[in-house]
Symmetry: C2
Subunit: 119 residues, 2 copies
């Protein structure tokens, strides 16, 4: 349904899921292993993993009855790219404004000739 950026951000908007991601940087793990630290049911963790999988944050393979979960950090790049882009643009705009203000004559407030509103 939602685009991949939305799914990715939404997937990491849950503290349990972020915790699972943190755990997975130490190595692949099974559903039971991942569920162990939490008070919730195994099924709840299984659902969390599905959300992470749909977001492309993890992939899963098979080892007998087990379904080892593997972290796929590429999606992080997508998010980081988005974040950095707009943080950078905001920063640049701020710096331009800074220069503009520095170039202004000394008088603190001269509000003559205010720009007209757009219709």
């Amino acid at each position: 349904m939602a685009d991949s950026l939305s799914r990715a951000f939404a997937a990491l908007a849950d503290p349990t899921r972020r915790d699972i991601v943190a755990r997975l940087t130490l190595g692949d793990a099974t559903v039971s292993e991942l569920a162990a630290p939490y008070a919730v049911s195994l099924q709840a963790v299984s659902k969390h993993l599905r959300v992470l999988e749909d977001a492309g944050v993890v992939t899963r393979s098979r080892d007998a009855q087990r379904r080892p979960v593997h972290l796929e950090a590429e999606v992080f790049d997508l998010m980081t790219t988005w974040l950095e882009r707009y943080r950078r643009q905001a920063q640049e705009r701020y710096e331009r404004l800074d220069t503009l203000l520095a170039d202004l004559p000394n008088g603190s407030d001269f509000h003559e000739g205010a720009p007209d509103e757009r219709p």
Copy 2:
């Protein structure tokens, strides 16, 4: 209620809100100005802005009846830091595994006295 990272990720999990953020890199804007491009009601956009504000993504000042919205990109750093940290850890682990595999004797069938050939 939720922690600030959760609020931040959740705030950006909606395409309309990401669009609003993109728009705000061009400069501050009022609620009506921000609402104009969308098919939804002004109230709906007002709600989106509240979510962004609660997440610390924007701040709002006052100018007569208007409430100019200003982008605060510092939260992005919080998210980027989180993302980069775990992406980096995952990457490092991958590289260690790579080295480990490279150090192994060649191939799966080495019970036939094959001397080590190449990394």
